[in-house]
Symmetry: C2
Subunit: 471 residues, 2 copies
Amino acid sequence: MNRTDSFSAIFDPASVAVTGVSPGSAGERYTDYLLTYGFKGKIYPLRPKGGEFRGMKIYKSIKDVAGPVDLIICCIPAQHVPDLLRESAAKGVKAAILHTAGFSETGRREGQELEAEVVRVARATGMRLVGPNCMGIYRPRAGLAFAYEFPRESGRTALICQSGGNSNFLIRAAAERGIRFSKAVSYGNACDVNETDLMEYFIADDETDLVAAYIEGVKDGPRFRDVLRRLSAVKPVIVLKGGATPAGKEAAASHTAALAGSDAAWNAVFSQSRAVRVDTLDEMVDMMVTFRFMPVPPRGKRIATMGVGGGVSVLATDECHNAGFLMAPLDEAVRRDLTRNVASDAGAMLSNPVDFPFWTMSEEHFRDAIRTLMKWEGIDLFLFLAPLRQSEPPLAEYVPFVDYQLSNLIKVAHECGKPTAVVINFLATGQSWLAAAGLQQKCYEAGLPTYHSTASALKAIGRLMRYHEPK
Amino acid sequence: MNRTDSFSAIFDPASVAVTGVSPGSAGERYTDYLLTYGFKGKIYPLRPKGGEFRGMKIYKSIKDVAGPVDLIICCIPAQHVPDLLRESAAKGVKAAILHTAGFSETGRREGQELEAEVVRVARATGMRLVGPNCMGIYRPRAGLAFAYEFPRESGRTALICQSGGNSNFLIRAAAERGIRFSKAVSYGNACDVNETDLMEYFIADDETDLVAAYIEGVKDGPRFRDVLRRLSAVKPVIVLKGGATPAGKEAAASHTAALAGSDAAWNAVFSQSRAVRVDTLDEMVDMMVTFRFMPVPPRGKRIATMGVGGGVSVLATDECHNAGFLMAPLDEAVRRDLTRNVASDAGAMLSNPVDFPFWTMSEEHFRDAIRTLMKWEGIDLFLFLAPLRQSEPPLAEYVPFVDYQLSNLIKVAHECGKPTAVVINFLATGQSWLAAAGLQQKCYEAGLPTYHSTASALKAIGRLMRYHEPK
């Protein structure tokens, strides 16, 4: 069996067995995910006692399954895993996801030996393993998932993630901002399939055009460096290194038995590739959003912002300066055009940043004002500020206002083609975050990137610009 | 009339007139705020045409009002303001809130002259002015407010804020984390009552023990420096300087006609006071929360974290290191005690950070484990990590889990008295932010500070520790 075959068993199994399907167990959940996300192939729940789950027969052993099994999801205690793998290999199972923990990450000798044994079985039988101590595969097109409340639709972003919890967060947080996934892999201890294998796989994966990776440690530094360079030469790659500090490295060892490597080594790896390094999970989501929704980068760092709120605009200007962007002073013609559309300058800021009393003007005038700014050749990037809880009215009355602004912004942005970003910020309360979700959706459905602060928008966009700079 | 009298008319008026009460106007909203927040005194809506609002007679002029009026809220166009103030002074009105914009912030000569005239009237009549171009006063105890959806209850934090929008955001964002206000003042262009007058007022204000200020520019540098020193000597003061960058200074001039001053001047001011400077509004909320809910600072920088999630814990460790804190390695006795309470170490991290499979243990064992860590003399600060969207279950099923964890944490924290903070993070979706609101409330009602990331928690707590260092 060659490498491609084994990945097809992992990402496109025709049949899946799940072990440890006892009441309230992880095995039950994994079986339920297959049903919930519409897995089309055969499902075989397993449990020594047998029984029934959601109307399906539970088999007592993988040996009792009549048909072929491509993939087994393993949720039984660690000490039983080697035998299970041997039986599975004998049955012709091609790959296993080892959700089970209790291996090398414990730091105990027994766990390390158990992991070594599992690897020996895999090598001897050609079976490929994802994990152990992982969540496994999310592939909406195949009906595979490892948590509830993930999007059902597919996209073109791949996620490689050493941490299951970080996977769960990233998939959900990115989904809220318009990112959908081709494949996400939570790979844990990486005893067999590792970060580098996955990166290599994604080089040629037709349904993936953007790759994000959270990595605590790599198994083979030189090979990783080579593959990262090759992958990042053909697709944008975003990398967050967990355990980047001395203390963090020890934590990573305890989490996934990762050898976190020195900072110098990591810096060398990054300097030899086009991969974009980020420092937090939030920055990773910002960067996915930026690559996805800003296909053409700004040509320079001159920006204009428009929105409602003087204090908002002052702070946005500080953030703009600190991010190395220039709030471009309006030239006289632009300012005159802009002023023409405004009934009164009381409480408005008609320089740049522009703080706009849009409620005093007609929809056409409002759109003209946006167009004036966006078409102006003095800027490379237009930032629309939509602060949600800096206003007087009750939220439910204010959100339609912002929605109206965004509808008009979207029209003009499509017409002008200037790089444009929407900052939905000042999200003071749970209710305002919920309202922001709907506004973000409106934007990403129209192809516009959204951010939660001017600072985070400009950090990501600055990274996009550096990515596109000729090397 | 002395200064105290004028502030009592501003903060505790027995009667309030509101001008410009026409349908859909700011005047209507201000009148409605008085009704909504339960203002107990007389309310006199004004409008040249007369009429009725919410069953109240609208007077055609301040002259027509029979009884005395302490405070007038002014929402009519700028050019009519000087006459209104003259009439009001003649009537014996003691103070005015000039919501009206269109004065010096426009940068136009007419606006500047109008503002100068308004100041002349005030000086000549002894009337005090808040604004213009401001939102005015929020004082829940008096039933005064300038937006909907502010808390009705009073607290002991004062807010001095040059921006109305930033006021609206800060009051709501801080409320969500347990901060309640004695008085908040949005003071705009500060033509009369300014940031320094307000700081001086709060020195002796019995109902205020913590002051936060957003300032774009000061009128009198030496006096400001002196007052800030005196105020910060008796109460914690948090200051965010808007327009801290060269570009931001210009924006501030356009916003509130503020003279933003040089960085060097500001740094000198801060170095001569105990005021804590922050860089963003979010940091300002974090700092309010820290002063309010961590009355005794950690004695040192050794911390332990406990929570659910390996990747979460690895990243928290990096953030801890970057913030200058030490994730203290557990000593053997503590580790043994901890391990005693844990059924299995599979997938757990039983060093520090501690990633805890609390669902495998009894409530008593869970509490014992927290107690073991919190009582340990090897740490100065305990951080509980409650990540919301890094888990498999649907949010609605997961939140009760976190609630259960927090209930037990709160019990042990009250028993141990060790500085403790709760990080509710990984808030991927609008729904998770909404769920976090309830969990935050549980914490602040129990007297515990909450944060949205380990990094932001440690930044604020680090500032608290520096604040308490002997100078």
